[in-house]
Each structure stands twice: as structure tokens, then as C-alpha cells.
């Protein structure tokens, strides 16, 4: 039943791409986006059914003779990702028409965007290596064009270039990994490779896994491969970066899961350890840079890096537990990873869409020049608050449930026999705990400074949400709440997926009778997200109702906030994003290495009190100390090899001759 739905989705997106081309006029723009939304809905339903079914359905599309057939195979693992793809595109479908104004640029953009969505679908349902690689490359190219929407603005070229360059480096590694597996398994079909993975020598399997991890890591944004994320997201249009962050990153994670669980399922324990280490480092570095970031979209980009780190560390932990004869915990952590993929996809896409709304309404993305948006943009603020509560993992929303399950899983590291691994897992849990704490701090800072308080600039003061898209983000907010309250249902679906992938029967130790979740072992701990959400809200509303009922009816006197009695409390006396993040900046000074410039009037000998300018800039550590040397080395090598391209024909003919001779020798040998 899922295959036709997926075909419908693909067709809808293709139609949307076609209609998009004509989106120079509003009706056609609306039509294209609604078609894209319809495709999203179809994909959503298809993904759910696929996940629930637990069986893979495959279809072969034509017999290409050169590189094998264009085989499609929708595995249950892809089901979770299809659901996410559906939700995100559905929301963006309703968001885009009000966000973009019809015109030639928008037309090209809508078409390219729908092609990118189509390519992502192709990646998820690719059955054999060639389809996967073709779909992957077309997805990367389409996304580069998505980023290039406002190509005339500053920084857009740089962002797109970084995305493409790192994407290509990653792609080469992915090809290498697939080639190793395909040559050893003598087949291009993924299911065949999966079946024959057992008898590939360990050395080759390890190289393939590492290549896949790093290759897909580029796309997922694992540190230190992450630098395209903060460069590309701010310049892409809001729905573009929502799609990028909501889904494209998850395709990287899908690739890692594909290699970790499907193709090379039973690897040695150091695979899991390395993956978990990669994930934990990514999470911490991501959130540390997020805390001090002032640009709203760059902040969300770093937060995406952090969440990818959490997902990959969950995947790593799952591999670790499985390789240490703890399949139940392994399966449980895989469920956690998938659940976090869906969660993060929803609230991160929501936050990016809201960032777009904020940027359009107030004309700036700099948190320090926003403030007081809640007065002018009530609905958007509520939706952003739901997203913030979600991503900051605060009860009762879905972020809290997935973070709780992750920690319950990691805290059972003691069940592993080898104490070293147990300690390392708990160490990872500790670092993820720090990350979770900093995440709450970072999002309190971002939401508080941008939405609450007094407006710090004219743009923020008269930001209104008239004409801004509300339904799209609202849908995602509803999705967040649904994912929290309906967590048991979602986990049942994900349990089917995991049974499909790893064959472990997790159900009895995952969901106890009355909507309560337990982490893979009975008497360890339990949580019922449904009851939590319902009762938390009820418990908080009850006293409010009592107070409202019994409040004295006397005239309430409104007085300005107490400010120590100064003549007038001005907006720029409020705490800004930087001063709020100062404790973290001071504690992690080693990582930030800020270069601080202070000039004050009171430094002159007479000590006049007057203007103060304080400028501190956080150093981009990875760009400066990792990438710049590599780039400089590559450019140096390139310069030395300049003589090859001398430009005279005879030299080129000579090259051809040499190559011919070499080929003959090889063949003869």
C-alpha cells in the first residue's frame, strides 16, 4: 500500500516543480506550493504505513544495462525519515506562498526546491548503489541552488560554495565506501550487499564504515566537518534553511544508520565508540558556539549541529550496546535516535520558519537589535515558544521525552560487562547532560532577548505579523505537541521499524500498559509523556483559574517597572544576548579565545566619564586552525602542478600515449 502513495508524492512534487516554473504570478505560486504540500501529505501517510508494516517493498524501474537497474526499495528504516520529509514539506508548502513574493527568482526557487525534495525522496527509497548515489548527488546540487536563492546578497556565494565543496568531498568518500562493499559483495543491490556483508574481511568493512561515517558526516554536520552549516543557513531563505536543517542533515544521519545497521550490521565495538565520540563532541561544540551566537539563523544552525550530535551519539551508543551483547538497549537507543530525528526535524523547521517571519517583520536577524516582539506578533511568539520549549527539552513537549529516553538509555551503561565501556558511556552521558543544560540556557537567551522585554530597535518596535505566514509553523507546533502526547503511538511505530532493521523484539520492554515508557529494562525508570503533558498543563492552569476567580475586583493600578528611580529606563539598559551569555563566555574562554577591544573616554588621564565601546569577537576555531591550513596546502600543491596545463597540444598528445601504454602493460601483466 505504501508504494503507490510514494509514487503519488513523487508525482505531486514533480508537478509542483513544473508549476513552480510558472510561479511568476501568485495563483501559480500558490498552486505549486499546495501541490508540494499535497506531496508532503502523501509522503507522510506513506512513511507511517511503511514504518508500521515493518516490511520493505521494492520495485524495479527499467533495466539500465550499463550500471544496473534503477532499483527502488523502501525499507522501514526510511519510513521514519519519510514521515519527517512529509511533515516538513507539508508545513513549508503552506508557509512558502506567503513568505515569497511571486517573481522570476521565486519561480526558479520553487522549482529547484521541489526537485530537491524529490531527490531526497529518491535517496530514501534507493534500492541499489547507483540509484542512491545519483539521487544523493542530485539532492546536493538542488540544495546548492536552493541556498543560492538571493545570490546577489553578500555571503550567499560563500555559503553555497562551502555546502557544495564539503558535499562533494563527502560524496567521494561515500562512493569509495559503496565501491568497497559492492566489489566485495559482487552486487550493486543494497539488500544483497546487506546479506553478504558478513563475509567481507573486517579491514575492508572498517574502512568502508569509517569512510561512510565521515562522508555522511559532512552532510550531517558532525564537528569538525560542520562549517558549511553556519555559513549556508543564514543566507538561505527561511523555508530553504528549514528544509536544509529539518531534513537534509537527517539524510546524512540516514546514511550513517544505513551503513551501521543495515549494510554492516554486526561491527566491532570500536565502531560504536568512535561514532558516539563523534556525536558527543559535535553536541558540545555545537551548543557552545550556539550560546554566543548573535545571528538568529546562525544560532539555529549551531543548534542543529548540537542535535545531530545527540542523534549520532545515540546511534553510536546503540551500536556499542549491540556489540556488547545488549541488543535490547541497542534497539532502545536506535528508537531514541529515530524519535529524536523526527522531533528535531519538526521543532527545528518550526524555529527556522519563525526566524524567517521575525526577519521579515523586523528587518534584522541580530538578536541584540530585536526585543519586545511578543507585543506585535502574538501568534508567532506563541508558536516560537512551543518550538523553544521543544528544542530546549523542557516538559511537557517532545524534546523532553526524547532527551529523557536518551539519558535513561545511556545511564544503563553499567549493564555492559567491560567496565571501561560502561564508564565511557556514562562520561558521554555527562557531556550530553552539559549540552542539555547549555541548550536550555541558549534558548532562554534567544527567546527571551528576541521576544520579551522592550524593543531595542525601530524595526523590532513596529514588527507586526499581518501578512506573515502563521499556519505553516502552527502546523509544526501542533506536530510537536502531538509527538509529545502521542509519544507511545510514535514509539510503537518506531519499534516496528527497529524490529524490521535489527530484528529485536523491544515492544514488551518499551511500552508498559497505560501509556508508560520504560527504557528497555523493567525496574529502572518509567515516564508517561501523555499523562505528564495533560496533568502538567492542568496543574498549572488550576491555580490560575482559582486566582482569576477570587481576584479582588478593585481598580488595578499600572506602574512602570521598578528601575531604581532613574529618570527613564531605556531599552538599551536591558540585558542583551551577549551580556546574558557572559558566564558561559568567561568559563569557556579557552575555546572562544575572544579578541576584546575596549575604548573608554575614562581612560584618558583626566578620567572623564564618557562613551564606552567594548567589542569582543569569538574566534572561528575550526575555520582558522583546521580548514585554512588544508586549503593553503591544497592550493600550494595545485600551484606546483601548474606545469601540467601548459596549453601546448603536443604535451597533451604525449599524455594520451603514456596512458595507453600503461593500460596495455596492466592488461598484459
Amino acid at each position: 500500500m505504501t508504494a503507490p502513495l510514494l509514487w503519488v508524492a513523487a508525482a505531486a512534487w514533480l508537478a509542483a516543480a513544473g508549476l513552480g516554473l510558472g510561479a511568476t504570478r501568485a495563483p501559480l505560486l500558490w498552486a505549486a506550493d499546495l501541490a508540494s504540500a499535497a506531496g508532503g501529505l502523501a509522503c507522510l501517510v506513506g512513511g507511517v504505513l511503511l514504518a508500521m508494516s515493518g516490511r520493505a517493498t521494492s520495485a524495479v524501474l527499467g533495466r539500465g544495462d550499463i550500471v544496473g537497474s534503477l532499483g527502488l526499495r523502501a525499507t522501514p528504516l526510511a519510513g521514519a525519515f519519510l514521515v519527517l520529509l512529509g511533515v516538513v514539506t507539508l508545513a513549508i508548502g503552506f508557509y512558502a506562498p506567503r513568505y515569497h513574493s511571486p517573481g522570476r527568482g521565486t519561480a526558479a526557487y520553487v522549482c529547484v526546491y521541489n526537485l530537491a525534495v524529490l531527490a531526497s525522496l529518491a535517496v530514501l527509497v534507493a534500492g541499489n548503489v547507483t540509484t542512491f548515489l545519483v539521487a544523493w548527488e542530485s539532492m546536493t546540487l538542488a540544495c546548492t541552488l536552493v541556498i543560492l536563492r538571493h545570490h546577489r546578497q553578500r555571503g550567499v556565494g560563500h555559503g553555497a560554495f562551502l555546502f557544495l565543496a564539503l558535499g562533494e568531498v563527502g560524496f567521494v568518500m561515500v562512493i569509495a565506501a559503496f565501491v568497497i562493499l559492492a566489489t566485495h559483495a559482487h552486487s550493486l543491490d543494497l539488500s544483497v550487499i546487506a546479506a553478504r556483508a558478513g563475509d567481507i574481511p573486517l579491514a575492508w568493512r572498517s574502512t568502508a564504515f569509517v569512510l561512510a561515517l565521515v562522508g555522511f558526516g559532512f552532510k550531517a554536520g558532525l564537528v569538525p566537518l560542520h562549517i558549511w552549516l553556519p555559513a549556508a543557513h543564514p543566507v538561505a531563505p527561511a523555508d530553504g534553511s528549514a528544509f536544509l536543517s529539518g531534513l537534509i542533515i537527517k539524510l546524512g544521519v540516514y546514511g550513517i544508520m544505513l551503513f551501521a545497521f543495515v549494510l554492516l550490521s554486526h561491527g566491532p565495538s570500536w565502531w560504536g565508540l568512535m561514532t558516539m565520540a563523534f556525536g558527543v563532541v559535535t553536541a558540545v561544540v555545537g551548543i557552545l558556539y550556539a550560546v554566543v551566537e548573535r545571528d538568529l539563523k546562525r544560532f539555529l544552525a549551531y543548534s542543529s549541529i548540537e542535535n545531530v550530535g545527540i542523534i549520532v551519539s545515540a546511534v553510536g551508543a546503540s551500536m556499542l550496546f549491540t556489540s556488547h551483547h545488549r541488543p535490547l538497549l541497542g534497539a532502545f537507543l536506535l528508537v531514541v535516535a529515530l524519535y529524536h530525528v523526527v522531533n528535531h526535524g519538526t521543532y527545528k523547521a518550526l524555529l527556522f520558519l519563525e526566524a524567517g517571519v521575525v526577519e521579515h517583520a523586523s528587518g534584522t536577524r541580530d538578536i541584540d537589535r530585536l526585543g519586545g516582539l511578543v507585543h506585535g506578533m502574538r501568534a508567532s511568539s506563541v508558536i516560537a515558544l512551543v518550538g523553544t520549549l521543544g528544542i530546549a527539552a523542557l516538559p511537557p513537549l517532545n524534546g523532553f521525552v526524547s532527551e529523557w529516553m536518551l539519558f535513561q538509555g545511556l545511564f544503563q551503561g553499567f549493564r555492559v560487562h567491560s567496565h571501561v565501556i560502561g564508564v565511557l558511556i556514562l562520561l558521554g552521558a555527562a557531556v550530553l547532560g552539559l549540552t542539555a543544560g547549555l541548550a536550555v540556557f541558549a534558548f532562554a537567551r534567544a527567546f527571551g532577548t528576541a521576544f520579551l522585554g522592550m524593543p531595542r530597535s525601530a524595526g523590532a518596535a513596529n514588527a507586526r505579523e499581518k501578512g506573515q505566514p502563521i499556519f505553516g509553523p502552527g502546523l509544526l507546533a501542533a506536530a510537536c505537541v502531538a509527538l509529545a502526547i502521542g509519544a507511545p503511538a510514535v514509539l510503537i511505530a518506531l519499534d516496528h521499524v527497529v524490529r524490521g532493521v535489527t530484528g529485536v523484539q523491544l515492544r514488551p520492554v518499551l511500552l508498559v500498559s497505560n501509556l508508560t515508557i520504560i527504557p528497555a529494562h523493567k525496574n529502572f525508570s518509567a515516564l508517561s509523556p501523555t499523562y505528564l503533558a495533560v496533568f502538567l498543563v492542568a496543574v498549572s492552569l488550576a491555580p490560575l483559574a482559582i486566582y482569576a476567580a477570587s481576584r479582588p475586583r478593585g481598580a488595578t493600578r499600572r506602574v512602570p517597572v521598578w528601575d531604581g528611580g532613574i529618570v527613564s529606563y531605556k531599552a538599551d539598559m536591558q540585558y542583551t544576548a551577549d551580556t546574558f551569555a557572559n558566564p558561559v563566555r568567561v568559563m569557556f574562554e579557552r575555546l572562544y579565545r575572544p579578541d576584546i577591544r575596549i575604548d573608554r573616554a575614562s581612560d584618558d588621564p583626566a578620567g572623564r566619564s564618557g562613551p564606552v565601546h567594548y567589542h569582543s569577537k569569538v574566534q572561528p576555531l575550526f575555520e582558522r586552525y583546521l580548514y585554512r591550513p588544508i586549503v593553503r596546502f591544497v592550493e600550494g600543491v595545485a600551484r606546483r602542478l601548474q606545469w601540467i596545463q601548459s596549453g601546448n597540444i603536443n604535451q597533451y598528445l604525449l599524455y594520451i600515449l603514456i596512458v595507453l601504454i600503461v593500460v596495455l602493460l596492466i592488461y598484459a601483466w
Binding site: 529606563y569 558566564p583 566619564s609 564618557g610 567594548y614
Partner: protein, 518 residues
């Protein structure tokens, strides 16, 4: 360097004299009163003299103020030569709208230059930025001593043009309970104090303008209430100025009474400072014990001079009431024992001492540059004390032991204060031993000007008094020690301190806003 013979005794009429004040600059000065010489110089040669005095590093700019004398604006800069124990008053006439700039050479003069601009409308050369001192932002026609300037100096609104990743955290004017009203603009990047500036126009009562036209005896009522916690210090300087004009001298026994009153005031102020430091560092037990000592000192004041803060004790030409020396000898040891018990306990508590170390550092050169006085200066290595360096005849309390520290932080200031408590208790015993008198000679009114000074508990308090021939005040310039030492407060707060250090630094300075705003 300078041929100022220290105790050039000229009795009677002020002698004319000449001589190089500083090397190479031949300046004619006239003896105004013992230990004070005046030199009138025309504005042209002023910069040279200022450079000479600043280069010599022996002169300390104590005050700069203006006065309207027969229709002309005269600016006076008071230089103190602490080694020689002499004051030099440099006068010059200002006819245009500008006068030579002092604050670049002697930074201590900056606040006074701003005040001169506000009160007389003349600004120093160089067009440098001036700050507002006492004129509130929303004041309509604000009364001035001289002429109001065409347009007011900037720097009156908060926030203070702050840019980049800092905000100005508004602290004040209504601060903690029992704290005086002053606005502190804390420029911070989150926790660390990047810059701090003060707005002190909330408490300006225009005392100097109010004194014009009163007789010195009537003016005493207001001089006492400019700075309640240094009532004796400021009134003593005022009375000495009035007595110098009249040329009368107080008998030794009456001067001893005044000396004992001054030391009693110093004792209770230092006890209050110890209590404030203990409170600001959170030691409520230490604070309670110090407050017991403070209360005992105040009850000692009541027993001795029937006023808890020694108001209404001094008078021009003597003392209004006698000081009950039996009460002092009987109650003083008890109060001092209480204070010793607290300071012993505090100074041996490592957590307390560590908290004060390197907190609110005022470097020696900042103390010299800003012309600080009193315990704050002595804690930064400036070894001068008016009682020893500028004793006033009849010399009764030229104390020898002046505690000096070089740390410049809160701990050094506390050590200096505790050292001064020992010194004062020894001095009181010595003075009471020699017998206290209670007399008040009222001299007939004489025209003239004079400088009065004394070492109040916060440092050197200066008063310049000009009486007209009817004996009424033509110009009274009050410069309590608070005016001088508040200048170093933002310097101390800026040296790598965080928010919680500001109250500790303020407690260690133990100044009053009333004395600053006047």
C-alpha cells in the same frame, strides 16, 4: 628643589616675598596666613607654572574654585606641599570665556573644572569634553553662584553612549536600604565592571550658594549639615578659616577639646566602615559585632558632647559646649575593646581577608594623579596627614604614627583605618591628659579671605572663606574630603572587579554622597 623654607615664621601682617616656587619660575607670593601663601599670576604665565608644579611632583593640587570679586571672576587653585607643610593659592583673573587647561597636566582638577563651568560659565582651553556635576537634567533655571553657561555640559543622561557587547546597568539613585542616593552607571559585559560613572546631581542642596550673606556663626548650622558624618571635620576647617581671617587664635585647651572631638568622630566613622565592609562581604555576625562597637562609640559621643554625631559642638572662635572628659575616659576603653575584638576576629578570618585582597585596587600613581586624600590615599602609598604635615597653631595633635599601606586594595584601606583607630585612641588619652577647655571668643567682624583645613575622618577637608567688611560671607568654598576621593571610585571599580565588589569598594572608601554633592 624649591626654596620654600618650611616654617618661615612671619608674625603679624602678611609679608611680601619673592622666590622661585619651583625651579626657574620666579613668582612673587605674599604670606596670607601661617602656612598659606598666595600668588596672583596672569593667565598667560599660568600654564608654565602649572607644568612646573606638576613636574616637581611635590605639589598636590588640592582644590580649584572660582569667586566673583568686585565684578570679576577670579579662579584659585590650591596646591599643597606636604613635605614643606605649606599651601600655595594660585589666583588668576578670567576675563574671556576660557582659561588655561589644568586637568591634562593635573588630572585631579577635572571635576573642579566641570564645577567651575557650571557655576561660572567659563571653560578650560582645548574644548575637551566636560561632565555635569550638580545641574540636574530636568532643571529649569538652576541657580548658580556666578553666571550660568550658555549651554550645559553633556553627559547627564543615562545610558552613557554605550556600544558594542556591553550594556549600562542602571544602579541607583534609590539603592539599598539606608544607602544614600547616587546613580552609578555600571557599564558591564555581563558580570565584570567595564566602566562606572556617577551622577551625583540628586543630592545637591546648593550649600555654598546658601552660605552667601550669612555670618560665619549662622553659616556653621549649614556647614555641619553638608556632610553629617564629618560634621566636626568640615566645621573645624570652616572655623579655622574664620579665625584666620579674624586673626584670633584659640587657646590650647579649647584646641585640645576640638582635637578630641575630631578623633572621636574618626573613631566612630572607622567603626562604621568596618561594619559596612563586613556587611558588604556578607559576614552578618561580623557586621553585628562591629555595629555594637559603633553604637558604643555613638553613645560615648552622646555622653561626652550630648549629640550622637557631635553636631553643635564647635563654634567660630572656640567650642559651644564643653566635652565631658570623665565620660570619655570611662566609656572609651569599652568601645575600643569591642572594636578590637571585631577587627581581630575579622583580620584573622582567611575567607574575609581573601575576599578583600586585590579588590578595588587604587594604584599609587592613580592616587597621586587624582590627588586623593585621607585613608584611601594612605592605603595607596601617599604618606601625608594634615595633622602631622600641616599642623595649625596652637599645635596640639601632631601625631607621629600615620599608618600607610601600598596595596591600594580594600584590605589595605581597612588596615589603614584600623591603624588610625589605634593612633586616635592614643591621641585622645594624651589630649585629655593635658586638660580640655570650653571657651568661645567672639571676635568683631573683619573683612578678608583665608584657607582653613583639617584632617577629617575621610581626609583633608578644605574651606576657603571670604568675608566682606560687614563680616558676612562673600564666598565660602567647602571642599570635604569626599569630593576628592569619589574620583577614584570608578578607577577602583574598573580594575577587574565584578558587580558584587562594588558595594565592598564603596564600603572601604566610606565616603558620603552628601559630601560629594554638597
Amino acid at each position: 628643589m624649591s626654596d620654600l623654607t618650611p616654617n618661615q615664621t612671619e608674625a603679624g601682617a602678611p609679608a611680601q616675598g619673592g622666590g622661585a616656587v619651583a625651579t626657574g619660575e620666579n613668582v612673587t607670593w605674599r604670606r596670607l596666613q601661617p602656612r598659606v601663601r598666595v600668588t596672583r599670576i596672569d593667565a598667560g604665565r599660568l600654564p608654565g607654572l602649572i607644568h612646573e608644579l606638576a613636574k616637581g611632583a611635590r605639589a598636590r593640587l588640592a582644590d580649584l574654585f572660582g569667586a566673583i570679586e568686585n565684578g570679576q571672576l577670579v579662579l584659585r587653585a590650591v596646591y599643597a606641599f606636604d613635605e614643606e607643610g605649606e599651601y600655595l593659592v594660585v589666583e588668576w583673573l578670567v576675563d574671556g570665556k576660557e582659561y588655561p587647561q589644568l586637568s591634562d597636566v593635573a588630572p585631579a582638577a577635572f571635576l573642579e573644572e566641570c564645577e567651575v563651568y557650571e557655576q561660572f560659565g567659563v571653560r578650560p582651553h582645548g574644548g575637551k569634553m566636560l561632565n555635569r556635576v550638580v545641574v540636574p537634567p530636568h532643571a529649569q533655571a538652576f541657580p548658580r553662584i556666578g553666571a550660568a553657561p550658555k549651554h550645559e555640559a553633556r553627559e547627564v543622561h543615562a545610558p552613557h553612549l554605550v556600544a558594542g557587547e556591553v550594556i549600562e546597568f542602571p544602579f541607583g539613585p534609590v539603592r539599598a536600604v539606608g544607602q544614600e542616593s547616587i546613580y552609578m552607571g555600571l557599564v558591564t559585559s555581563g558580570e565584570e565592571v567595564i566602566d562606572l560613572y556617577l551622577l551625583q546631581w540628586h543630592k545637591h542642596r546648593g550649600i555654598e550658594r546658601r552660605l552667601q550673606g550669612l555670618t560665619p556663626a549662622q553659616a556653621l548650622f549649614f556647614v555641619e549639615r553638608t556632610e553629617g558624618l564629618s560634621a566636626v571635620g568640615n566645621t573645624l576647617a570652616f572655623c579655622r578659616a574664620a579665625e584666620s581671617i579674624a586673626g584670633s587664635e584659640v587657646t590650647a585647651s579649647v584646641e585640645r577639646t576640638r582635637g578630641v572631638a575630631l578623633e572621636l568622630e574618626r573613631l566612630y566613622n572607622h567603626a562604621a566602615a568596618v561594619a559596612a565592609i563586613a556587611q558588604s562581604t556578607g559576614l552578618s555576625v561580623g557586621q553585628a559585632q562591629a555595629e555594637i562597637a559603633l553604637e558604643k562609640f555613638l553613645r560615648l559621643n552622646v555622653a561626652a558632647a550630648s549629640h550622637r554625631y557631635l553636631f553643635g559642638l564647635l563654634a567660630v572662635g572656640g567650642v559651644q559646649r564643653s566635652l565631658d572628659s570623665e565620660a570619655v575616659t570611662e566609656q572609651l576603653p569599652g568601645a575600643l575593646a569591642e572594636l578590637h575584638r571585631v577587627s581581630e576576629a575579622l583580620m584573622t578570618t582567611n575567607s574575609f581577608v581573601d575576599r578583600l585582597e586585590a579588590c578595588g585596587v587604587v594604584t599609587a600613581d592613580a592616587a597621586k594623579r587624582l590627588g586623593l586624600v585621607g585613608p584611601v590615599a594612605r592605603a595607596s602609598g601617599q604618606d601625608f596627614d594634615c595633622r602631622r604635615d600641616h599642623p595649625v597653631a596652637p599645635v596640639i595633635n601632631s601625631t607621629s604614627g600615620v599608618p600607610v599601606r601600598t596595596g591600594g586594595d580594600v584590605l589595605s584601606r581597612m588596615e589603614v583605618m584600623l591603624g588610625e583607630v589605634e593612633e586616635s585612641s592614643r591621641l585622645i588619652a594624651e589630649l585629655i591628659g593635658a586638660g580640655l577647655g570650653a571657651a568661645e571668643e567672639t571676635a568683631e567682624p573683619v573683612a578678608g579671605s583665608a584657607l582653613g583645613w583639617c584632617e577629617s575622618s575621610r581626609g583633608e577637608a578644605l574651606v576657603w572663606l571670604t568675608l566682606d567688611d560687614a563680616g558676612r560671607i562673600a564666598r565660602a568654598r567647602l571642599r570635604p574630603a569626599s569630593v576628592r576621593n569619589w574620583r577614584a571610585f570608578d578607577d577602583a571599580a574598573r580594575s577587574r572587579n565584578v558587580f558584587t565588589d562594588v558595594p565592598i569598594i564603596e564600603a572601604s572608601f566610606w565616603l558620603t554622597v552628601a559630601g560629594l554633592a554638597r
